[in-house]
């Protein structure tokens, strides 16, 4: 059973689907928080992820040049995150804040502009061509392979994927602690619930907005670096490619619902990978070229059938 069916399914479809799902989930958290608290669809979110990858690469390159060391991306990510958060706060203050009292569509268009600005800036600084993020072939983790192999359930999971799973779990647990146990986290949920009431309750909404950018920024950074670790390269279109599936994940889970975003991300990631499994006969059910179509289809169906999403988010 495992040899005939399970091995291939689990190792070549299910695990990659979960990896992709983790990346979508982290990106969708930022999108859903921004949508819930600042009330706009942030089209620049994917670009922030992409730029996070480039900044991480740069820090790794600098360390290699100065000290001859190869830094792990997860270490290089830390200072890069600080830079991205700083940029998030800066764009909020000078770019989005002036639009706050205006119609939502203006902020959405502004974020579209921000998306183009970031991508052009990255292209200008790092060039339009692909960069190698991590070199070499990712070999499966040997301990996991041997242990699981000894009970005839051989799992081939490279270390990079193990890091992505662990990283996502840590971030989701930290996020849940923040939102449920801390004062600022509860205030974020309150503002998402009703900005007007938050305002007349005396909650410092500006502080909550800054916290939202910080949390969204950390998740976007992680998503961007995890994606770069997974595909082992950087390209300036990688953030944009993620945008549709991330929005699909946020809508599937319910706008403004962080757990919904995590769940939606996993579902979209799995759906995309599993759609290419040869469910019927020997050929992929859907050609891998249609992967993005799967996310789009789920999003459209969801908007028609249950616009508030699985976790009862805001409908619009």
């Amino acid at each position: 059973m495992w040899d005939a069916f399970g091995f291939e399914f689990v190792n070549f479809y299910l695990i990659p689907g979960l990896v992709l799902g983790c990346i979508y989930a982290l990106g969708a958290i930022g999108i859903t928080l921004t949508f819930g608290i600042l009330r706009f669809a942030n089209f620049a979110h994917g670009e922030m992820m992409m730029m996070g990858g480039y900044l991480t690469w740069t820090i790794m390159a600098i360390v290699t040049a100065l000290f001859g060391l190869t830094l792990h991306p997860l270490v290089a990510m830390v200072p890069a995150t600080a830079v991205v958060i700083f940029l998030f706060l800066l764009t909020d203050k000078y770019f989005y804040k002036p639009f706050r009292k205006e119609d939502t569509i203006k902020v959405v268009m502004a974020s579209f502009g921000m998306m183009l600005i970031i991508r052009s800036a990255v292209q200008a600084i790092w060039g339009p061509n692909q960069l190698k993020f991590v070199s070499g072939i990712a070999k499966p983790n040997e301990i996991l392979r041997d242990v699981s192999g000894s009970i005839d359930l051989m799992l081939l999971v490279p270390n990079k994927h193990i890091w992505i799973f662990l990283g996502t779990i840590v971030i989701v647990i930290a996020l849940s602690y923040l939102l449920n146990k801390t004062r600022i986290g509860k205030a974020m949920r309150a503002v998402s619930d009703s900005p007007d009431l938050a305002h007349v309750t005396g909650i410092d909404v500006d502080q909550v907005i800054r916290a939202t950018w910080i949390v969204g920024g950390i998740c976007a950074m992680a998503a961007g670096v995890f994606l770069a670790m997974d595909i082992q390269l950087l390209e300036t279109t990688m953030g944009f490619r993620m945008l549709l599936p991330m929005f699909a994940a946020a809508i599937l889970g319910g706008i403004g619902k962080p757990y919904g975003a995590v769940f939606g991300g996993l579902v979209i990631g799995l759906a995309e990978e599993l759609s290419a499994y040869p469910w019927i006969g020997d050929t992929p059910l859907l050609s891998p070229g249609y992967k993005t179509g799967v996310a789009f289809a789920i999003m459209v169906i969801m908007l028609i059938v249950r616009p508030q999403g699985l976790f009862k988010g805001r409908s619009f």
């Binding site: 004062r183 509860k186 205030a187 949920r189 309150a190 998402s192 619930d193 009703s194 007007d196 009431l197 938050a198 305002h199 007349v200 309750t201 005396g202 909650i203 410092d204 909404v205």
Partner: protein, 238 residues
Amino acid sequence: MTDPILSLNNLKAGYGQTEILHDLSIYVDPNEIVAIIGPNGAGKSTAMKAVLGLLNIREGNVTLNGDDITDTPAAQVVRLGISYVPQTQNVFVNLSVQENLEMGAWTRPEGIPERLAEMYELFPDLAEKRNQAAGSLSGGQRQMVAMAKALMVDAKILLLDEPTAGLSPKYRGEIFATIQKIKSTGVPILIVEQNAKQALGVADRGYVLVDGANRHTGTGAELLADREIARMFLGGGH
């Protein structure tokens, strides 16, 4: 003579260009319950929003203990000690009862456990529901969450906008009883009410508002005895 706690003086105010309050004056003295009654659309809620700095005020001013607070932003008004319970959407539905109260204490984060205990004493129903989402409660219980949330700070005055709207007589009675309890702790209250008879019954003074201006003013008893007011508001089922 001491200054009133809160005073709205000859306000002309509205939303953007539209003027809703044409010449409105209201004051609340220490230890008073003051009721505002009036027909739908008279501008009762708008008068409260004027205090919270949510309005475009053209003329007149608002004072707290004699200090001018006209056009002060809402968050600052709350910090100064004016606690406000809006007419609608006055609880965070996705937050638990306790989290709602904690948010109410945003501007005064010290001593939250003690104040939570006080609130659960004042509103015993809420104690057992503390971990339930506020959105899952009945209308009357939500109203209590909203009031408790407003009392989590050291309020100098409490503004209540129609706290009994749509509630059963049982809850209405409970809310009015609680309002008198709150008054006895030394917090004056400005209350907007549709249930004019009950409101004027507990109020020290009342205002009848029509078309954004004062129509009648007097003690609760005087207004209750007024023929015209009786015809306008007190007839029917209240």
